[in-house]
Symmetry: C2
């Protein structure tokens, strides 16, 4: 039985897709963090000029797409297709942002793995010769997430030490058949892993097993190893999940030490910004990739990274029903455009 | 600027994908409707042996996938990839159904357009030579939907005449690079349309403009017309939305009369089963396609259909905030395997 072109879960696009342009929009707190200079827009207004947080999140995506078009020197109508999704119920951040824009849209739900999921689907689309200008985009918003998943913000609930802070931000990447910029070498599609973690305030632990399985599948399928990468970047396991992934790898005879980093630990200064176990949300890996990481790949400061988007596939309903939290992780190998 | 291989929104897979196998699982009410004989499984138990409706919906997808594997003569582990999504918050029907199965999974959110969205992505994946056995799947459940989107069932709320009845069911299709069965000719990806309809109990009206735009884009991109098809099947506009689509087409000089039907009007006997404007939910077009329609394409009774999945991209939050309902529609042209 034929499986994926390369191994069990991985594929190599026939045409190597180029990420020619990327854009990031961040909130106030993210703009005070260590990656501040890499964002295209930092807003001091949590509502982004809208009347609700949900519409603010829609505006985040609209700003990211506008900025992406401007940086690419294109009209938005020249985008062939937008793959996007978010954390809001029924993904209204994504669908409302594209209302009446006339841009073909395929909606995704991969929780916080959405940046990687959209990027790999964009690579599949462009790499298969289907279209030449495909956007991968996602967002999250601290305030809209908190009230949907946890408590009303006004309630002032105490956060547990394992909790992560949902990033307010949106990232968008333009994947093209031609042009200059970092290139997508290959992609690994994750499976849904569930080891029984039930604590919705410890999503890093719930996602770490999925991250490990996908990284292992990537290495097996593509015949590579941690030393082939400058960085293996998960997003967003947070501090605790990252340690669990390191431990899982160690127990399985794989050394990730020195190579592993996590968007949840990069986006905030975890000691100064009081975010407990780090950042989270679709926007976390999105603004880290579509800013700092792609900038460094473009300049040649990074030569090759494995970008591993991790998602916790829970809902408040499943949590309230006492069910565990399934996790998923998709990996995209990106190389520098410069030799 | 290059757009999609074929026109603005459409693509033709380089390898013509074959739908070799399909499976459908339906609830009690659907099993009393006109399509009863086309379903592989009809359950009299609304919970499908589970303790909650949400877990019942998970079980629906598990039954559909099991049945699909059995009919295809494969182990489930031989599926290369499952594209799936559902209406539940955070798509827990899909993610929980695939827990620890070891099958690569990409999660989608396209509301009731998900059967078409997953099918076109499966066609893109197989048609691009990325994988050989890709599953497109979705589900919906009347009871889990009602309490999430509207009222607790026990409340006994009166339904408006324009309301549709969410189908309890799951459909799955296996898209392959080789084999016999109906074939996917080409696909058209929809854009998000919003003409300002705000009545969450009249989703047919909200989706009809998106359906019209996608059907028109399909004809323009592929150079075809209504008379080239045996049926143009939307799903799920319901009775009212179907009439609006006919009217929209008429006003734009396109005659769909005689060709147009809608899964929402096929799945129930609207006069006998008290479903008001017809069926809805991701499962509506899924069980209609993965039963009656593919059976008829396979036998040669239908030669060519345009399957148009329609989705209302609302959430209870957006509705409560007074926002209109954006719609989307994706189209897949399917031809009979027999000449």
């Amino acid at each position: 039985m034929a499986k994926f072109k390369r191994g069990k879960q991985s594929f190599i696009p026939p045409i190597q897709p180029v990420i020619t342009t990327w854009a990031s929009v961040a909130g106030k707190k993210e703009g005070e963090g260590p990656l501040a200079k890499s964002f295209d827009i930092v807003s001091q207004d949590t509502y982004f000029g809208q009347s609700t947080w949900e519409q603010g999140e829609k505006k985040l995506q609209q700003l990211a797409l506008e900025t992406l078009a401007k940086k690419a020197g294109l009209e938005q109508s020249q985008f062939d297709l937008v793959y996007s999704g978010d954390l809001l119920n029924q993904c209204i951040g994504s669908s409302f942002s594209l209302r009446n824009m006339g841009i073909p849209h395929l909606g995704l739900y991969g929780a916080c793995s959405t940046m990687a999921e959209s990027l790999l689907l964009a690579a599949m689309t462009v790499g298969g010769g289907y279209a030449d200008h495909v956007v991968a985009m996602t967002s999250s918003h601290f305030a809209s997430s908190e009230r949907q998943y946890r408590f009303p913000l006004g309630y002032g609930g105490q956060r547990t030490p394992t909790a992560q802070w949902t990033v307010t931000g949106s990232g968008a990447a333009l994947v093209c058949a031609e042009g200059s910029g970092p290139q997508i070498e290959n992609c690994t599609i994750g499976t849904v892993r569930d080891l029984g973690i039930k604590d919705a305030n410890n999503m890093g632990a719930a996602m770490a097993p999925a991250a490990f399985e996908t990284v292992r599948a990537h290495f097996d399928d593509l015949g590579c190893a941690p030393e082939d990468f400058d960085l293996i970047v998960t997003g967003d396991l947070g501090q605790l999940g990252k340690e669990m992934l390191l431990e899982l790898a160690r127990r399985n005879g794989m050394s990730l030490g020195g190579k592993l980093t996590d968007c949840g630990t990069l986006v905030f200064d975890n000691t100064m910004q009081d975010v407990h176990a780090g950042g989270s949300g679709c926007g976390c890996s999105a603004i880290t990739l579509c800013g700092d990481l792609l900038n460094k790949l473009n300049s040649g400061k990074l030569k090759r990274i494995l970008f591993c988007g991790t998602g916790a596939l829970l809902s408040p309903t499943s949590t309230q029903q006492g069910l565990p939290i399934p996790g998923v992780c998709h990996a995209v190998s990106i190389i520098s455009g410069r030799n």
